[in-house]
């Protein structure tokens, strides 16, 4: 099951050129671009691992593509996303986020039903990948 998170996730995988164009858009708007990776694809997992520092003072997006490729060398079997952080007053938040790398096999999610008091059912989801310990997910 293909993970649909962030921008462009219903499109085919972005090429390096696409990534560059998007990152350049973010840079031209004055947003700091950073690269993050994780092997825990749960939608509520907002704390992905940072790959280096956010790039605050790089005027050209080639540096972002370079870092994405460096990250792919090390974490090619995990999810990698590119973020654009807007530091201007009033926003101080993420403006863009898109996945640029995903594992070859995405096992998807299952529904977990928990029986509560009074026959109440609580629903949640869990990634099948999460059954394996950290580092052993996605082969």
């Amino acid at each position: 099951m293909r993970l649909r998170q962030g921008q462009f996730s219903f499109l085919p995988d972005l090429t390096d050129d696409d990534i560059r164009t998007q990152a350049q858009y973010a840079i031209d708007n004055g947003w700091a671009v950073s690269v993050e990776y994780t092997d825990d694809p749960h939608p509520r997992n907002s704390y992905w691992e940072m790959w280096g520092h956010p790039m605050f003072d790089n005027p050209d997006a080639a540096a972002v593509v370079f870092e994405v490729n460096e990250c792919r060398k090390e974490h090619g079997s995990k999810y990698i996303r590119v973020l654009a952080f807007d530091a201007s007053a009033g926003w101080e938040s993420i403006r863009m986020s898109f996945i640029v790398n995903r594992p070859a096999e995405e096992p998807g999610f299952r529904v977990v039903r928990q029986e509560g008091e009074g026959r109440k059912i609580r629903y949640t989801i869990e990634s099948y990948a999460m059954r394996e310990p950290e580092g052993a997910r996605y082969a």
């Binding site: 790089n58 050209d60 080639a62 540096a63």
Partner: protein, 310 residues
Amino acid sequence: MNAEAKGMTPQSVDLAASYEESGVKDVLRELDETLIGLAPVKQRIKETAALLLVDKARREMGLATETPTLHMSFTGNPGTGKTTVALKIADLLHRLGYVRKGHLVTVTRDDLVGQYIGHTAPKTKEVLKKAMGGVLFIDEAYYLYRPENERDYGQEAIEILLQVMENNRDDLVVVLAGYADRMDRFFESNPGFRSRIAHHIEFPDYSDTELESIAEIMLAEQNYVFDEGGKRAMEEYIGQRRVQPHFANARSIRNALDRARLRQANRLFETSDGPLDATALSTITEADIRASRVFRGGLEVDRAQRETCA
């Protein structure tokens, strides 16, 4: 090149038009006007610009696909305008579309080489990333390589540089600068660099007359002028300064002028007893230049004298 542009490959190219259009003409004219002397450098830049223009036209017609190697090395004595020319080159390459942003990142050994194991690679990469889309200017590049210390981290920086220079040729242009003799030795011990650099440009020393016009331009930029005596004193100053140690061409001139302005301010402060007009405030006289220790034999003589006095 996108699909649309590919569909309409031009059949002929008007080089003169693209010369006008790309703004290369303006950069070259600016180069001619703002930089005194440096005839061989200007010639090389013009040739390079012509080559790139033709290459761009060839690419538009689909005759060439490879990005030409644009890495350069600037060799010459201190103060001969290497950084200034690098700025112009960055602008030129940007207008020709060989670099996307056209900014210049100036670094020295300290910015590339780390202090301890594992510090160099991230540091060098950080600088390279900053320079992507523009020109990376490595001043006194020969310091990167220190043969006397085999555990020096400079070698690591060199390896990363070479790798990026080769693999990310579309993304950045590297300009190495330094004194001629030391750069030659640097290239000898790092043959990888020599072969990856296509353009070796040598900066000649300025002649006395060129330095005089540089002095006048520098003063004019700050709204100062020489009077007759000041001009003559400056001519003599240049002749004498040249043979003394640590002569750094235009940079020495700039420092001399800074000191002359200091002396002028002092003179005005001590001697004036009425209102001063604009001419008085902006004239450098003979006395301001003559007070320099260059006329008394320079730094060494000065120091020796002070020691005998003490």
